[in-house]
């Protein structure tokens, strides 16, 4: 129908707003209906009394949030925080030297960067399984240590806090290296030369020139590690066993065996709120450093 086509074209042409919204509508609807609305439902669920078979009953209550003051759940929150921060600190101490070496290298830079990006594209489930394969009692590490005679019986590594921490660091370390590298790469070399001319020794040059200039990268990297660690589920689930529970596992448990959906929703909402707070912080730092940090 050419007439219809002409008319539709003319209509769209004279109304730029309508044209834009015709493009936005399908995807915008999907994001609204299958992302925003569900998050809203989750919030509402977290404020309603628990039903008998996993659902909710009409009413309003704050009891699910109050339950987090119960020592049992407070402990889960504390552990989640402590591990996420611990993971961030370890990643910082391991990641900074690596980022520094990459930024200073010439010939190998592309290859070294490629090796840092590679894990992003490796299935997280497969990577976590790789850790199990290495750390279980009959795993590679134990069998080699036994063979070398360094230990007499297998070390218990799996299902300990050590395993979870190793898994978290292994999973999120690249998030730390990349932003630090990005800010180190931009450090103006003439500043370092000036410091040298003025008599600063290498250690002082690093401490008083390089380190302050790389702060935006350090902050960005720390948040990019902290955020996914806070909401992580698979690592503690597969490497931590039943005892080393993080808040992500608590959420999952409320929806599988415990069947307390409103409490699970409350826990989930707390994770979301913490993550959003961290993201806000990230965006503020990013704005201040004028593009010093890479986009999310």
């Amino acid at each position: 129908m050419p007439a219809f086509r002409e008319r539709a074209l003319a209509w769209l042409y004279t109304r730029p707003q309508a044209r834009a919204w015709a493009l936005v509508a399908p995807g915008g609807f999907w994001l609204l209906a299958f992302f925003m609305v569900p998050l809203l439902i989750m919030l509402v669920y977290s404020l309603m009394p628990r039903g008998i078979y996993g659902g909710v009953e009409p009413g309003f209550t704050l009891e699910h949030y109050a339950r987090f003051f119960d020592p049992l759940y407070l402990q889960v929150l504390q552990r989640t925080f402590a591990w996420s921060i611990g993971c961030t600190v370890i990643c910082l101490f391991l990641g900074y030297p690596v980022a520094y070496v990459i930024a200073r290298s010439q010939r190998w830079r592309t290859f070294l960067l490629f090796l840092v990006v590679l894990p992003f594209w490796t299935s997280f489930l497969v990577r976590t399984f790789a850790m199990i394969f290495l750390m279980r009692d009959t795993g590679l590490i134990n069998s080699w240590l036994l063979k070398l005679g360094m230990i007499d019986e297998p070390l218990t590594m799996l299902y300990t806090p050590f395993a979870v921490m190793a898994g978290l660091v292994y999973g999120f370390l690249p998030f730390m290296i990349l932003p630090i590298y990005a800010s180190l790469e931009k450090v103006d070399h003439s500043l370092l030369e000036a410091a040298e001319v003025l008599g600063a020794r290498p250690a002082a040059r690093f401490r008083r020139v390089t380190l302050p200039l790389s702060t935006p990268g350090v902050v960005a990297g720390s948040l990019l590690v902290f955020i996914p660690a806070l909401g992580s589920f698979l690592t503690a689930d597969l490497l931590g066993g039943a005892k080393q529970v993080m808040i992500g596992n608590l959420v999952q448990n409320q929806f599988s065996s415990a069947r307390n959906w409103p409490f699970g929703s409350a826990a989930s909402f707390i994770v979301m709120a913490l993550v959003l707070a961290a993201v806000m912080l990230y965006l503020r730092v990013k704005d201040r450093s004028a593009g010093g940090a890479p986009p999310l």
Binding site: V24, Y45, R104, P119, T138, V251, L296
Partner: protein
């Protein structure tokens, strides 16, 4: 000025690279080891790969993953491209809100996305299965498609479209004959990225899949939970290889002229 790096720095870097890559490398090597229980090397074998073909659950999981991945990829590529066109080329009210909407799926922890979608589907009494998995995957893939396609649009020459219209092509013809061919590498690269993420996803899928609709990661997770056997090394190696090929293609396309 001396540019040599201290030895300890290089040592730390070496250890970190070891730590980042050794586990997966070991996993792959031992998928060819001819021993069921031992982590000693007992010779080369392909038997763990052959065993995979005898497992109906893995084949069913692979089929489910391909169906979901295919559908989610096509839908998110189309919707994401339209959104990117709006953001890249149009000025409109509500732009900031839309940008916010696009960021939310990127930062939301998977576990939160998973349970909130589960709540929605239960509330709507929508039966859990391949359809709900596809809906969920599209929801978290769109943003990434938008980012990739938008980057392509921003590098495009708007003069070409103007020239086409001056030469008498209407908007729709210009779109199909000038805009889309230029965008194509970006769209394909976004689509491959979406497929990879869909194919890899475990956490979100585990909440919105129903009985009999297990995708490959769900099956693999079940195997890992039960016990550690060489077949998992084999299927992991295949997943790694498939992902690597897809990412390589996506990267090639994104850089295409």
């Amino acid at each position: 000025m001396k540019t040599g790096l201290p030895k300890w720095l290089i040592a730390v870097t070496g250890v970190v690279y070891f730590f980042l890559h050794l586990p997966v490398l070991v996993l792959v090597v031992f998928s060819f080891n001819d021993s069921k229980f031992s982590v000693d090397w007992r010779g080369f074998t392909l038997q763990w790969y052959q065993r995979l073909l005898e497992r109906p659950d893995i084949l069913r999981g692979l089929k489910a993953s391909l169906i979901v991945g295919g559908a989610a990829t096509i839908i998110s590529a189309v919707l994401g491209t339209l959104l990117a066109l709006a953001l890249g080329r149009q000025q409109f009210r509500g732009r900031r809100v839309l940008e916010g909407f696009l960021y939310v799926p990127i930062v939301t922890p998977e576990i939160v996305t998973g349970i909130s979608l589960l709540l929605l589907f239960v509330l709507l009494k929508f039966p859990l299965g391949l359809a709900t998995i596809t809906i969920a995957h599209v929801a978290f893939c769109i943003s990434f498609v938008v980012i990739v396609v938008l980057a392509r649009i921003q590098g495009m020459d708007e003069n070409l479209e103007e020239a086409a219209m001056i030469l008498g092509a209407d908007e729709i013809t210009t779109f199909w004959k000038v805009t889309v061919p230029q965008l194509w590498p970006g769209i394909l690269s976004g689509a491959l990225l979406a497929f990879t993420m869909s194919f890899d996803d475990f956490v979100i899928t585990s909440f919105v899949s129903g009985p009999g609709s297990s995708t490959l990661p769900i099956v693999v997770y079940g195997m890992v939970r039960k016990n550690v056997e060489p077949s998992i090394n084999a299927i992991s190696t295949i997943i790694l290889l498939a992902t690597a090929i897809l990412i390589y293609l996506a990267d090639r396309l994104a850089r295409a002229k």
